[in-house]
């Protein structure tokens, strides 16, 4: 049994050592895989704020992931075709600059989270799971028939967007960017969970009535958490779109929501590093199992089942021997 702190340090260490090794061994694809893992981790950290701390089981986080993706896709598409995004009331051009794209992704997905959250939080429990799923399906079917931006074919962006001072086409430089963002998001989440807001949110999940009696509004706390959560997942979506240089309605599918949830549960719900470990493990599994057999989904299914049935607290829980987090 390893202490959780060591395990977390080890995980972060892997995110430094593996790409470093890949760089020297000239294995650029390993760097691409690690970039994928880092981006999935960011998406799942977003979900963790809603689900792990706030107790909101959202099966619709693909909405924010997809919005982030389409923010990148639409802006870059207009930039690469030299067409205006909007001509009225003010002329808006597309852009190939990552910081602007990220800002737009975060703003639009926050706004979507605000609306979806405000409506969905009228329900609870299973109904909440299902209404978030319904919003996901709405966006999915909408983008499939959104002919201006490729419909089901999606949008291809031929050259990865730029970041000042970096050559983002070099796998290691883009990875570095994603890794730094991952660290910043981790730091933010850690500060958040220790802040008065985080503590109140945690309490709102465990004992809403008590929170109410001290004069706080649990629904409002949860709504703020849902918005922050959506914003982070949206940022991950923009990065994912840039990794693939491609967006499509698949990003909005309910399977995507399910996968983001799987990263989280695989690693450990409510733990700071849970999503990071889960995303890394999932990418590794997908890569190795996929090579073993055409029917690798069976093995993935069995493994997930075993983790749910016998491994409370996800992989971190298994390795550190600690079941629950701070309940």
């Amino acid at each position: 049994m390893i202490r959780e702190t060591y395990l977390n340090a080890l995980t972060l260490g892997l995110f430094v050592l593996i790409p470093a090794w890949a760089l020297f061994a000239d294995e650029p694809f390993t760097i691409t895989l690690m970039t994928r893992a880092a981006i999935f981790a960011i998406a799942a950290i977003g979900l963790n704020i809603a689900l792990g701390i706030g107790g909101l089981v959202s099966l619709g986080h693909a909405v924010f992931f997809g919005i982030g993706g389409y923010a990148m896709g639409i802006l870059a598409y207009h930039a690469q075709t030299y067409t205006a995004l909007a001509e009225w009331p003010v002329l808006i051009d597309g852009t190939k600059s990552m910081p602007i794209i990220w800002l737009v992704a975060v703003l639009v997905s926050s706004l979507a989270a605000l609306v979806i959250g405000a409506l969905s939080l009228r329900t609870a429990g299973v109904y909440f799971i299902m209404i978030t799923l319904a919003f996901g399906q709405m966006f999915f079917f909408f983008t499939i028939s959104w002919a201006e931006y490729g419909g089901e074919d999606g949008l291809s962006i031929y050259v990865r967007n730029g970041f000042p001072g970096l050559n983002t086409l070099a796998p290691i430089q883009f990875y570095g960017l994603c890794f730094v963002i991952l660290c910043l998001v981790l730091l933010f989440t850690w500060r958040l969970s220790k802040s008065p807001f985080g503590l109140a949110l945690n309490a709102a999940r465990q004992a809403p009535v008590r929170v109410e009696t001290v004069g706080l509004d649990p629904t409002r706390l949860k709504l703020v958490a849902f918005v922050i959560s959506g914003a982070i997942t949206g940022l991950a979506g923009a990065l994912f779109a840039d990794l693939n240089r491609f967006v499509s309605p698949t990003m909005f599918s309910w399977q995507t929501s399910g996968e983001i949830m799987i990263f989280l549960i695989l690693g450990g719900v409510g733990r700071l590093y849970g999503p990071v470990v889960g995303a890394l493990a999932f990418v590794a599994l997908e890569h190795w199992l996929g090579g073993l057999s055409d029917y690798w989904h069976i093995y993935l299914g069995i493994l997930l089942l075993l983790i749910v049935l016998f491994g409370r607290g996800g992989l971190i829980g298994l390795a550190s021997g600690k079941e629950a987090v701070h309940d």
Partner: protein, 378 residues
Amino acid sequence: MKMVTLAAAAALAIGITGAHAEPVKVGMITTLSGGGAGLGIDVRDGFLLAVKQAGSPDLEVIVEDDQRKPDIAVQLADKMVQSEKVDVLTGIIWSNLAMAVVPSVTAQGKFYLSPNAGPSALAGKGCHPNYFNVAWQNDNLHEAAGAYAKDTGYKNSFILAPNYPAGKDALTGYKRFYDGELAGELYTKLGQTDYAAELAQIRASGADSVFFFLPGGMGISFLKQYADSGIDLPVVGPAFSFDQGILQAVGDAALGVKNTSQWNKDIDNPTNKAFVEAFQAEYGRLPSLYASQGFDTANLLLSAMAKADVKDADAFRAALKEADFASTRGDFKFGPNHHPVQDIYVREVIKEGDVFTNKILAAALTDHADAYAGDCSM
């Protein structure tokens, strides 16, 4: 990783290898798991059959499963290019996956040979010297269906397709050659399996014929429900709902339906006869048009390898462009945008013993190119 390393077969090859020593590495990304796996498996099997027959020690094929997910396909393409350092990519079945992969791999200087998808964007403005389509441009089979409807004298067609880009291309393609009235034009939900509402509209529309493009399971459902509805209008469609893998699941409901295809197992040429026999002997089932496309793709590649070194991109491109191989479809050549110029046939679904299959009635369009070649500047 499922590696098919053919170097081992070198001992068996009796000196029929290309003149160039540099081996060619091919990355095949195709759909082998989940729904739609049947198409990818056919393309792969057709391709590998040709590779096996050639027995070339200079050819190594790596096959990977994209699970029909665009992001997985992109990731695999990155892997093929970055780690495996392949020279040629191929295998993608679906247009949306092709749009995700093809522009970036051709921009990185790799060759891409499409054994199935032919989205209009890649045939027109987005064409690329390193992109060769060995199957068809997406509109082609629909255009042939329109031409057939016009020749047969249909005056009032009811047309329907799913509400996504390939569906819109399908109806546009049909209308490009059909010149009668439209009794109705419908876009259905992608993945829809119940067509009761559409069938009621067809019945009430006063149409004299029905054209539909509903690939895979959607087409199976539509045909069965159509047969059961008592509507007695002639149906025309592209081959995608009538290929060998699907027909057995449709059964009697498909009998007599006219469909358009650039290939059929009864096309009379020696290559095709040998292909159909060898495929049956190797895999124990009849080949589909997807299998023939995979087979032709591999033979195109082999023909270019015999003429040029893949490292010399200009020479290799020129060799591909010549399309100097014996196609299962008979005459085959590339147009200026590297898309096929070929005959497209009208087939009818028949029953041979217990097996449902197709037979060719006539050519619908001869030496047919696509409508986008003019937009391609290369």
